[in-house]
Symmetry: C3
């Protein structure tokens, strides 16, 4: 594409030669004359003056320092993302069913559906137009996958799952396995049948090896525009509001309800039956053990230290209540002394 | 089923019309006249008086408040679980081998075995009567799976694994991958061959994407009735006692031995070579770094706080030993002063 | 093998009968006359005098206490590992392509390549000599796998991945899924195309269900000799230096750079854009939230306690800043008093 075409497609003002050709994207440090980069983060500003890129997407306020063509943007990172998608369009799998796939005659396939090698599509599965089922996937019915959604290799969809439009489900994801429900009965555990399903909205992305369990009675629900990273665990009857993003290895216990537009970092644990309000931010490796009622930032990790300091400090933690009582006693004694003197 | 049939099957006393038909289960808030619900948790008692369910399974002490038919139970949740299994029997896969499955002639299959599409069953595999191997599973031999056990899609069983009767292994589980064993040798690591196997008892359930490694020399062992949630990691030579339950994303390092009837919450880490006694309870995201010798509850997570408070408090944690020394000095000084005055 | 052959193959001095036959390995407690064991850890020294093993690999300083044949080693654990590999050679899959595998004509296969049942090998894949692709794997091209590397069942390789020689990739691993990159744009998230690949060195081992994401623009890089345990998460553009080992369930956020010969324990979280120096050691469940510039041990987990003590102490943690201020006030008051008196 030319810079002029890019500027028009993105709706951005161009400072530079509209006829220059851009082939691909690169980092600001490594980009060459046929490459586009962006500047959104202060830590990379030092590289701007020396960049050899074909063009840089940046804020108007940085344009004066840019030695090459510039595309002026109020949101350089988002516009970079759009530009990269234009320059490197995601390969679309060819429509058709691989000869080694198993598609049950009781499945319903829309126009332009792709089913990869070795994939298994069961009776009662509905695949809307343009759905891509990657090699080795297993999709059991009844279930429904909306138009344009793509399953990468080896995804498992258990019965009772609905997925919206334009979703991207990465390799190894399991949707609709049984929730973890057992009723204690003496020494034994009686399995509680997991009879609900999973409902996933539009434009959802689920990272590799993430698991989303089916509900116990009602459904587990993931809203439109939600993005989950790799190895996230979503237990039965969890609800995740629209546009919430959750980083890798976070686990959400049963029946918790996460609001819209939350940002949950990696390695977080969210206990069961909690409510987290819209717009909450939780930092890495925090255990959310009570409701979050106000938007804001919430944390609960211990700071890293060198081993010797950590050992001394954490030993004191086990006596922290005692320490606080000793301080209170000192305060009383000093007050008594003050009153006496 | 009629309420009378349900009451008889569950061995419960019925207060209400035994001829009423029940079609399915529902929550106490949403149940209609053909549906059964239960009351086991105080937080739902408020919904009892207004329920429109066909019947409620509850304690005798709650029966007076129940506006509809009641099934009286000493353990309403367990009896609900049994009732749900009667009303919604798990679909049994049809016996037979899918035409797209690969079953080695050296495998031994009992009566009524099901092997799903694209599954691979190797030489030396023994599948007892009624075993179900889901689509896309890979079962390598030698290995043995007991009667009535079911593997959901895409489970991997490596050689040297024994699974008991009536187990349920969810999608994406890997049993018998190599344990993590490397001997340091200068800058290099020499792989320690992982020569043990995995032995899993009867009535075990393993959640989606859980991994159970083979032993280094002897076996990794999971006892009867153990239930593991999703994404649990069980390292080589771990032993888990009967009826222990472990929630999602918990990891157990090598050679640790967990007792019977323990309850381990999610996100817990258990260090290697430890012993945990029968009946121990460990709360979420605790690092178990020493033996647990007495039953009871054990915890080690940091409480969540708003970001500003957490930042101030956790900065103080890094000086906690110093703070404790300052308090001890104050105590000495005040004592000295007291003695002087 | 005879003890004499073993001693010669390992380059160790033998004290005992070189003609004795050794069939297999065992633990020092359970080994019988045809079995070899080792002593490397003080906790097992108590079993040495009573061992009935055919031979023990041990330090020369322990030889006097050994009642049976001894192989003297400066590194008994590494020499045990080598001996075990000699006595129990890993089964080599037969060369050839399973009739149920799908190998694209555009793939390039070296000598002695094995492709297992149901595996899918795409166009543009290069498999060097002796590569083993396990049953159910999906390998998409362009990608390259070096000589002698083995993929266990159900591994997924996305396009743009290079794997070196003699690697071992365990079941369920996903290499090259999209990194977690989204640019905020009002309430929405714009997907940032993940255009980099993954480069993995020689002699790397990846544990079951581990995920390694492709880079955003440049590659994610794993050095020679790196060993990752099960369920490790490696985000986009992470770099891991040679011979670093990382235990189960550890997660590394985007663009962090881990040095050579580090030892990272299980359940660790490493925040994004950090640098960890060569030879650093991080203990279990630590959140690494800043650079590690000096080799040494780093920790950040809370000590486990009984539930009652933990509840009291952790409640105090939420007032720790306040407690520190109260101690400072006491110090000032006491100093004032001292000056007045």
């Amino acid at each position: 594409m030319t810079l002029g075409e890019l500027a028009e497609a993105l709706g951005l003002q161009l400072e530079g030669d509209p006829a220059r050709r851009i082939e691909s994207v690169a980092t600001i440090q490594s980009a060459g004359p046929g490459e586009l980069c962006f500047l959104a983060n202060d830590r990379y500003r030092q590289h701007l003056r020396s960049t050899r890129a074909g063009a840089v997407i940046l804020h108007a306020r940085d344009a004066a320092d840019c030695p090459v063509a510039a595309l002026l943007s109020d949101n350089p990172y988002a516009d970079y993302a759009r530009a990269a998608a234009l320059l490197h369009p995601a390969g679309k799998a060819e429509a058709g069913i691989s000869s080694s796939a198993s598609v049950d005659p009781g499945a319903t396939l829309g126009e332009g559906v792709h089913v990869g090698a070795g994939a298994v599509v069961g009776a009662g599965v509905e695949l809307a137009d343009g759905v891509e089922i990657g090699p080795g996937c297993v999709v059991a019915g009844p279930s429904r996958i909306g138009a344009g959604s793509r399953l990468r290799p080896r995804v498992v969809i258990e019965p009772g799952v609905t997925i919206g439009r334009d979703c991207l489900i990465h390799a190894g994801v399991v949707i609709g396995a049984d929730g973890f429900g057992f009723a204690p009965d003496g020494d034994d555990w009686v399995k509680v049948p997991q009879l609900g399903g999973v409902r996933i909205g539009d434009r959802v992305e689920l990272g590799a090896a993430t698991t989303v369990d089916r509900g116990a009675i009602e459904d587990t629900v993931i809203g439109d525009g939600v993005k989950l990273d790799n190895q996230v665990q979503v237990a039965h009857n969890v609800q995740i509001g629209a546009n919430t993003v959750i980083a890798g290895c976070t686990a959400i216990a049963g029946s918790s309800k996460i609001g819209r537009s939350c940002m949950i970092a990696g390695g977080v644990g969210i206990a069961g039956h909690l409510t987290i309000t819209d717009g909450a931010v939780v930092t890495a490796m925090t255990l959310v053990s009570r409701d979050i009622r106000e938007p804001g930032i919430y944390s609960g990790s211990l700071p890293m230290d060198d081993g010797a300091s950590w050992r001394k400090n954490s030993a004191r933690f086990r006596k922290l209540d005692d320490l606080a009582r000793r301080v209170a006693r000192l305060e009383r004694e000093l007050k008594d002394k003050g009153e006496k003197s």
